[in-house]
Symmetry: none
Subunit: 201 residues, 2 copies
Amino acid sequence: MNGLKSLTERQAAVYNFIVEKIQNRGYGPTVREIAEEFGIRSPNGVMCHLKALEKKGAIRRSPHKSRAIELVHDSVQRERGLVLAGRVAAGVLHEAVEQNERIDLGDMFHGPNLFALEVSGDSMIEAQIADGDYVVVREQPTARIGEMVVAETEDGDATLKYWYPEKNRIRLQPANSSMAPIYVQDARIRGVIVGVVRKIG
Amino acid sequence: MNGLKSLTERQAAVYNFIVEKIQNRGYGPTVREIAEEFGIRSPNGVMCHLKALEKKGAIRRSPHKSRAIELVHDSVQRERGLVLAGRVAAGVLHEAVEQNERIDLGDMFHGPNLFALEVSGDSMIEAQIADGDYVVVREQPTARIGEMVVAETEDGDATLKYWYPEKNRIRLQPANSSMAPIYVQDARIRGVIVGVVRKIG
DNA sequence: GGACCTAGTGTACAAATGACTATAGTTATG
DNA sequence: CATAACTATAGTCATTTGTACACTAGGTCC
């Protein structure tokens, strides 16, 4: 998930703590600060992690200096942004393959379970979402009635619609009065739409 | 040049050295590192500067911790984000006072002459811009025919419309078929719209 | 089973580092 | 001229902090 190679869960946690400190406070933690944060009762417990992080190339250290932890990937800098997961059809169904592009929407939209999709088609036009817009999606398996979702139908296609579960079927309602709703027996919710971004010109 | 108040030449030099270290290396200098850099032969020489810098509000320090220098103006790094300059009316004219809020849209929208406005009203609804959306504006005094602009009319109000200069007047065209265009003799362009951002839920 | 990685506890030590006192030269400012 | 502010030297002290050593324990891999 990060560009870092195979950090263990614990190592990643330590790494994130270091990054957080540097970001929030301007200077990194000491060995003992890390120990306290993670309930480790020996400086050496932390030393192991730091050595591992350095060996794996996540950080660089200057020996015998205090707080001398340097982040190798100016990670946070580059780790900003949401995964641009592909194009989602609002009209005809397209494929939504996960790609590796990223789109940086800054503080307004960022989080571990957010991603972005480019919208294709005009079926949500009356919800003020046009062809070429990007929707920000919060990944989650459920939605409330009437929420706008990215849904995956039985044949594996993804689409952007309003979510209306009915008795024996699910109505995927476009926001376009010239288009008819789609009815499916089953569909999986990929996430709900929490934002829209459009670039003009 | 900085927002810092009346640092002496020496103090400014020390401050810049600290900033440079933090930027380049990721962690700040120790008292003795600063001393060496400036040829000061006693730690106390530096302590005086640090105390002065702290008193003048340029830095913040945690006592008895190493390298614990925090920059108060988190200068370049955290200047991300666009100024949220206020609300712009798309229906009735509102005031667009410059506020101090910021909105971070990341790499997609950032630059020295970009700012954001919250949209008020539905007059651009057919351009898929709804009440409560944010528009990203590139500040510039001119626009091409038909571009969407933030225009300031003679009475000082700002509005979001399509820009249609005509022979003896200017037509400010809403994107709402139930609304009539506004005609003005003169209007100043504050900028053109380069993006739209909407937060849902 | 043995080699190896991860993840610790606990203790101890030496170096790194901030903070302090005392002293003093310089430059403005009233 | 006196006072204050800024800058600096010299040396000392106490704390912070990185590092090392010895030892334990749970995994994985061959």
